[in-house]
């Protein structure tokens, strides 16, 4: 395999957790609620997967645990932001701090232990005989295929169904949606919870397909990169796919340059994804200064129904 093919494979493998987390962020923020807890949710998803997988040996159970734990945290975020109308920034930060503390606490006993297995790969038989395409798509794991399918499903859901119309209405103009008989609070709860569960699944994918054991703070800021990717992708699932793989490529590029025997110290290569995140956001901010940013119009503002007498 040549360098480019290897890089593409690595980009998909590093990009899948970013993609899942970005899609989760998009769902949450389309409903009008800011999600800054992604880092904590990913860590909780990762640690739950590790604990259940190591203790039970059952992969499906481990994935369900990750989804369940982060969905509960998503409900806490919804309760604070939707029902109590709390500060969404602060609630997200609290979730990140709580998630990193709790995951370190729970993961102490299994830290460094190997998982019983990785995410199983889907063997496409004849496809893997095709040069390049076969190398890239021939043996992707189930979670990667699931994330690709999810991009399509979420694109259709958001832009081509009446459910998606309701979701966008709630994110853009909850007061009008309320008058139209859409249950704003229910929709916000549903999508914030589903979004959090997806971010939890991203954490599960981190440990199943990318880093093989649990370590404290294992996500190393990928949750925050996903928060940035939601903005790059302009809250659009199809764009999220390209953005996530682009960052997956950046993530693995540093590692590959190192393998080629670069003179640049590895610490600087590891800075690339973080620095590029800032630079791309600045570039987009500059280029789109007079254009629609795609932000759901009511993002961050709690909805207060006018009191009726």
């Amino acid at each position: 395999m040549d360098f480019t093919t290897q890089l593409l494979i690595a980009a998909i493998s590093a990009g899948t957790p970013l993609l899942l987390a970005t899609l989760g962020g998009i769902l949450t923020e389309r409903a009008g609620i800011i999600q800054l807890g992604a880092e904590g949710l990913m860590l909780m998803g990762a640690v739950s997967t590790c604990i259940v997988y190591i203790r039970s040996g059952n992969l499906l159970l481990a994935l369900l645990a990750a989804i369940a734990v982060t969905a509960v945290l998503g409900m806490v975020h919804s309760f604070l932001c939707v029902t109590l109308r709390a500060n969404q920034t602060m609630s997200g930060l609290a979730m990140t701090l709580f998630g990193s503390g709790l995951s370190a606490y729970l993961g102490k006993s299994i830290s460094g232990l190997p998982l019983p297995g990785t995410s199983p790969k889907l063997d496409l038989g004849w496809v893997k005989e095709i040069p390049v395409i076969g190398d890239i798509f021939g043996r992707l794991d189930y979670l990667t295929w699931f994330s690709l399918l999810l991009v399509l499903v979420l694109h259709l859901l958001i832009h081509h169904t009446s459910w998606g119309l309701h979701l966008r209405a709630v994110g853009d103009n909850p007061a009008t949606a309320d008058v139209m008989g859409i249950r704003v609070q229910l929709i916000r709860y549903t999508y914030v919870t589903a979004g959090a569960a997806l971010i939890g699944l991203a954490g599960a994918d981190m440990v199943l397909a990318y880093a093989p054991t649990w370590n404290e703070g294992l996500t190393a800021g990928r949750g925050w990169i996903a928060v940035g990717l939601v903005i790059f992708a302009r809250w659009n699932p199809l764009r999220a796919l390209f953005c996530a793989y682009f960052f997956g490529a950046l993530d693995s590029l540093g590692f590959r340059i190192q393998l080629l025997g670069s003179v640049v110290p590895s610490y600087f290569l590891k800075m690339i994804p973080y620095v590029v995140t800032i630079l791309v956001l600045m570039y987009l901010g500059y280029r789109n200064r007079n254009k629609p940013s795609g932000t759901p119009e009511s993002l961050g503002t709690p909805y207060i129904r006018e009191q009726r007498f």
Binding site: T89, T176, A177, L281, M282, T295
Partner: protein, 373 residues
């Protein structure tokens, strides 16, 4: 705010449906937006509830929560050694928390104190390496200047993308934390590594001239005075100057402030310079006053804990002193439970849940129970 995307407005195409009748039965909750001042009991109650919540996790781990909390409390406040250690941890929390509070006053969400502290510590160490034989006064002064400037520069790198490119400062400041930590790893493993350090990643030990004076035989150093002076200046500035008045105005109503001719971008840059500079001082005080050399993990998450310190104090100067001592104690207490086989991350878990209950408490207070008509 950036221009709206009209393509996203879905509500306009929906058909109206008849509104449901608004009748409830008996009591109902009503939101009173006029109650904006948080009640005094909210920080106290949130600490109590967080202790209860984490007790559940501790019990689930097969330990007795009462024993664990008692151990933490004794470790942090029970002995004179523990108490001075708590104060030592409170110094960076106070300085970083103060910086964060200044920025939060005008809703600039700086979460980059961790990185700003790290570069402050690195810049102070650079002085000891490149200007080795300075007399004590000049060494300390130069270290303080370098540390502050580096922290302020790191803050500026968050402020400019926000003011000139519309980039959310949360993301920028956090990304810069990771960049700073990688830069720290680079210098302690690479160019600044102590040749006589048995291959341990860290700079050479500072000389006595490069170390902050300490109180008696304890580890409590005069960084405490930096913190207290900074709190006093913050209090006087916010209370009595035009600048403080403008900050309060922006914090209360940014739109009105803009119409009143206040240059908001300028204020964002100023508060981020102050915010980063204070965290830089904290970093300088850590290396010069406590560790006496630059090493990996110079901060056990002070920058993140300081966020909660600032929020729990309601950005109030006196409150900042109280909460930073409390959280210093939480960190020291977290270390002391390691002797009974519990991870110190127990203190992070407590911090996160305190913040959860705090923001919930502030809002619950705004609801009133009303009898339906």
């Amino acid at each position: 705010m950036s221009p709206k995307n009209t393509g996203n407005t879905a509500a306009a195409v929906l058909e109206p449906v008849p509104a449901k009748s608004g009748k409830g039965f008996g009591l109902r909750l009503e939101y009173d937006s006029s109650r904006t001042r948080s009640p005094w009991w909210s920080p106290v109650l949130s600490v109590v509830l967080a202790l209860l919540l984490c007790a559940v996790f501790i019990a689930a781990n097969g330990m007795n929560p009462v024993t664990v909390y008692e151990k933490m409390f004794r470790g942090a406040f029970g002995t004179s050694y523990g108490f001075t250690e708590t104060m030592v941890k409170a110094i960076p929390l106070l300085l970083c928390g103060l910086g964060i509070a200044v920025a939060y006053r005008i809703s600039v969400w700086n979460i980059g104190a961790e990185g700003q502290l790290t570069v402050g510590a690195m810049a102070a160490t650079a002085v000891t390496i490149y200007f080795p034989d300075l007399p004590s006064f000049w060494a300390i002064t130069l270290m303080l200047l370098f540390g502050t400037a580096a922290g302020a520069l790191w803050g500026l790198m968050t402020a400019v993308p926000r003011t000139h490119f519309g980039v959310n400062e949360l993301i920028t400041s956090l990304m810069l934390n990771y960049v700073a930590l990688l830069a720290l790893d680079y210098v302690v493993f690479g160019p600044w590594k102590d040749p006589a350090g048995f291959n341990f990643p860290g700079s050479p030990m500072f000389t006595a001239a490069e170390s902050l004076p300490v109180l008696g035989t304890t580890r409590l150093h005069i960084g405490l005075i930096f913190g207290l002076v900074a709190v006093l200046i913050y209090f006087l500035m916010v209370k009595f100057t035009r600048w403080g008045y403008e900050l309060r105005l922006i914090g209360a109503n940014p739109t009105a402030a803009r119409y009143a001719g206040i240059h908001i971008k300028k204020h964002i840059i100023i508060v981020m310079l102050i915010s980063g500079g204070l965290a830089g001082i904290a970093g300088m005080a850590e290396v010069s006053g406590v560790t006496h050399k630059l090493m990996q993990g110079i901060s056990p998450g002070y920058g993140y804990t300081a966020i909660i310190v600032a929020w729990l104090a309601k950005l109030n100067p006196l409150g900042l002193i109280v909460t930073s001592v409390l959280f210093g104690g939480l960190i020291v207490g977290g270390y002391s439970v390691q002797t009974i086989g519990l991870p110190s991350s127990i203190s992070e878990m407590l911090q996160g849940s305190i913040l959860f209950f705090l923001i919930a408490g502030d809002m619950i207070h705004r609801f009133r129970i009303r009898r339906s008509a």
